[in-house]
């Protein structure tokens, strides 16, 4: 009995999975540009903060009084965000494996950590006391340092909020069966924005909370 190799080859080709379709990486490119905008926003505000700090310290004025901005809260916020990085990477790997269950779980973790971060940041803003007299706290209406920190932290929370919203929308798209190994542009785009947002907190953590 002779084998019809041509027919076998044809059958193999017929049953082989189709080649992954090359899709335009629209979301990834858009996410890169929005990430650039977020970097510029934070760089501008942090630059102004550092310049104002430089002016104050050069004039021997007090910038952030001792104990006015303890590092415990910011460290917690930083580690919360750092923990979200492997969760986001897990989501990227999950979608490449067509593993939707892992994708949803990882997105759930990212959103949970994001919410915890927002909570930590709002706690820091509430308990921040930049008055030299601990009994008479100053608000953003009395202290330019407090106002600058409020704006920088507030804008970063807004960036994290936008990243969480994008994660949520992408999660819903995955729930609807839209994302798989051949179409994971949205997951990568959200991940890129998230990583940038985390890196920006690293900048904020060092410039505002550590250097004070």
């Amino acid at each position: 009995m002779s084998l019809d190799l041509a027919r076998i080859d044809a059958a193999v080709v017929d049953h082989a999975p189709p080649a992954a379709r090359q899709r335009p990486r629209s979301l990834l490119i858009a996410s890169s540009i929005f990430s650039g905008a977020a970097v510029m926003i934070m760089a501008a505000l942090t630059g102004l903060y550092l310049a104002a700090r430089h002016v104050a310290l050069a004039g021997h004025a007090t910038w952030v009084p001792s104990g006015g901005l303890p590092l415990t809260g910011p460290n917690t916020a930083l580690f919360t965000l750092l923990l979200s990085i492997p969760a986001m990477a897990w989501a990227q790997q999950a979608v490449r494996n067509n593993d939707r269950q892992s994708l949803w779980i990882s997105y759930g973790i990212v959103l949970l950590l994001g919410a915890a971060f927002v909570n930590a940041e709002s706690f820091i803003l509430r308990t921040m006391n930049l008055s030299t007299d601990p009994k008479t706290p100053v608000g953003i209406s009395q202290s330019n340092v407090a106002l600058l920190i409020f704006v920088i932290v507030g804008v970063h929370i807004a960036i994290i909020g936008a990243a969480m919203l994008a994660t949520l929308v992408t999660g819903f798209r995955a729930l609807g069966g839209r994302l798989d190994r051949s179409d994971h542009d949205a997951v990568d785009a959200v991940a890129l924005f998230w990583y940038v947002a985390v890196a920006l907190f690293g900048l904020l953590w060092y410039a505002v909370y550590v250097m004070k």
Binding site: R25, A38, S141, S143, V151
Partner: protein
């Protein structure tokens, strides 16, 4: 194949495109890039026209130096902040984006923009933000401004100042979103064969402008958030009482050059077409020059020089800064190289007998000349020892760049009138508009520079009466350019509506890029069939060799 090139299988067939929108409801809900682009062009041209009239009125008000003839001091200072902000942020940048929204997908052979709903949201966001911005000025608000020694009370309502800051934030968000849409469209929606090196120069300039606007205006957005929060919490920063100074860096060099980035693309596309020349050798050079001009016009780093939040004590980035001087010197080169390429195209076109005398050509020439003058005289403003900064010299640079952008915008509207309005506009009106733009901007710049150099303008808004008269005539001429262009477009629309015959796909008969392959006005899905692209000028490849002039056929 490049990473972002489109494969054959990824091209969306025309049948999958959504239905054509109809009526007002259709316009409000549409994601059609052409409808959105036309809306944006219409709104922004109205703003530019109003801003030019306002500029004329402001200059007329101080025609007799140090005396307000028309408006009074309070209105003069208030409207003095409205005019530049209006013409740049609400007028010219959205106008260029509107042009891009109509033309970029057509030029790159795409059936739609990358994110149609985001584009629609941005256009309507612009409409709302622009309206709120203007309303803020007419309800006792606007930008708080330093009036120098004048004790006049400019702002009467604090909440209207908050509205001004918020409207600018929304406006910047709309500009950034539109920029992202257009840049992404060029990167991901190009047709087969349209590599990045073959992208038409206007589309390329929109990519560069989009990136630069996104990165630099984000910084302005951040400043506006700070101004808004500070102002609504008691204004503890001294800078908030002069919040307009946080915006001024956008109107000074190098950032002001950014509004003219698309002008370079418009000029190059128009001159190549009407001189019937290909730019095979110079093309990479021009692509590089547009990119270089964009990078060198990035001025967000100069924010700290203007940050009155910091009470004049910041020792960084003041004038006479070596970095600024080097950047101001370098920015001259890309513009002059483009000017040289344009001149060479004229030489080659004239030599080969391929020169087409058409309305857009004078506008393009005027635009590149004005821009060249702007970067040349702009260099001197960087030298603090000359004492030109803070005088009308800054205004001269500003007016030349704005003039270049207006001339290019007017030329673009005449050039692509058949794609935007359905039929070509009157040639003679385009030529008059170009001459008015050149003479007008030149007159304002000469008057301002003379006032600055002769020392008769220690303050930004005062000058010599004779020179002010010349400047007023210049303002009238530039306003005339805008009004002539508007009238010409209306005539084109009327021609299209009244005409029984269809406008040709390429009414100039000289088209090089893909927008000339589709009907005028373009079909809802842009193309019935997208022509093959094997060069930067695919329409020339379609022509039989005997129809090409010798230079083009090479």
């Amino acid at each position: 194949m490049e990473l972002t090139d489109t494969e054959h299988s990824a091209i969306t067939p025309a049948t999958e495109i959504l239905m054509r929108p109809k009526g007002v409801g259709g316009l409000i809900g549409t994601g059609d890039h052409k409808a959105l682009g036309r809306l944006l062009i219409t709104l922004s041209v109205l703003v530019i026209a109003a801003a030019e009239v306002l500029g004329f009125a402001l200059r007329l008000d101080t025609i007799d130096a140090n005396k307000h003839q028309l408006l009074g001091a309070a209105k003069f200072y208030s409207l003095g902040t409205l005019q530049p902000t209006g013409i740049v942020l609400v007028g010219l940048i959205p106008f260029m984006l509107g042009l891009g929204l109509v033309l970029v997908p057509l030029q790159i052979g795409a059936r739609a923009v990358a994110f149609p709903r985001a584009a629609a949201a941005a256009v309507w966001g612009y409409f709302i933000a622009g309206t709120l911005f203007i309303v803020s000025y007419f309800t006792g608000g606007g930008a708080p401004v330093n009036t120098g020694g004048d004790t006049v009370k400019v702002i009467t309502r604090s909440s209207a100042v908050d509205l001004w800051a918020l409207s600018l934030i929304l406006l910047i968000a709309s500009i950034v979103t539109l920029s992202v849409v257009l840049v992404t469209t060029v990167f991901t929606q190009r047709t087969v064969g349209m590599s990045m090196r073959r992208v038409p120069l206007f589309s390329w300039s929109i990519v560069i402008a989009g990136v630069i606007w996104t990165l630099s205006l984000s910084v302005l957005g951040a400043l506006m958030v700070l101004v808004w929060v500070d102002h609504s919490h008691g204004a503890i920063f001294s800078g908030t009482s002069d919040a307009f100074s946080q915006v001024v860096w956008v109107f000074n060099q190098p950032q002001i050059y950014a509004i003219a980035i698309p002008a370079l693309g418009i000029v190059c596309d128009i001159t190549a077409m009407f001189t019937r020349t290909r730019n095979e050798l110079a093309r990479p050079l021009v692509l590089g020059c547009i990119a270089g001009f964009g990078i060198l016009s990035f001025g967000a780093y100069s924010v700290l020089s203007y940050a009155t939040f910091l009470d004049e004590a910041v020792p960084v980035l003041k004038y006479d800064n070596p970095v600024s001087i080097v950047m101001a010197a370098l920015v001259i080169f890309p513009v002059l190289i483009v000017l040289a390429v344009v001149a060479d195209q004229f030489r080659r076109g004239a030599k080969a007998g391929g020169l087409v005398k058409a309305a857009p050509l004078p506008g393009a020439v005027v635009s590149i000349i004005l821009l060249s003058l702007a970067v040349l005289i702009g260099l001197f403003a960087e030298f603090g020892s000359l004492g030109l900064h803070g005088t009308l010299y800054d205004d001269a640079v500003f007016q030349l760049v704005v003039g270049a952008a207006i001339a290019a915008g007017s030329a673009a509207l005449f050039h692509w009138a058949s794609k935007i309005a359905g039929a070509n506009a009157l040639n003679v009106m385009g030529m008059i508009a170009a001459i008015l733009a050149g003479l007008g901007s030149g007159a304002i710049a000469v008057a301002d520079m003379a006032a600055a150099v002769t020392g008769s303008s220690a303050q930004h808004l005062h000058g010599n009466a004779t020179l002010n008269t010349i400047a007023v005539a210049g303002w009238a001429a530039v306003a005339g350019t805008v009004f002539l262009t508007v009238v010409a477009l209306l005539v084109a629309v009327k021609r299209y509506v009244d005409s029984d015959t269809e406008t040709k796909a390429d009414p100039w008969g000289a088209g090089q890029t893909l927008e000339w392959a589709t009907a005028s006005p373009p079909l809802y899905e842009n193309f019935v069939e997208i022509p093959p692209v094997s060069s930067p000028e695919p329409m020339l490849d379609e022509l039989p060799a005997e129809e090409l002039v010798p230079e083009v056929a090479q």
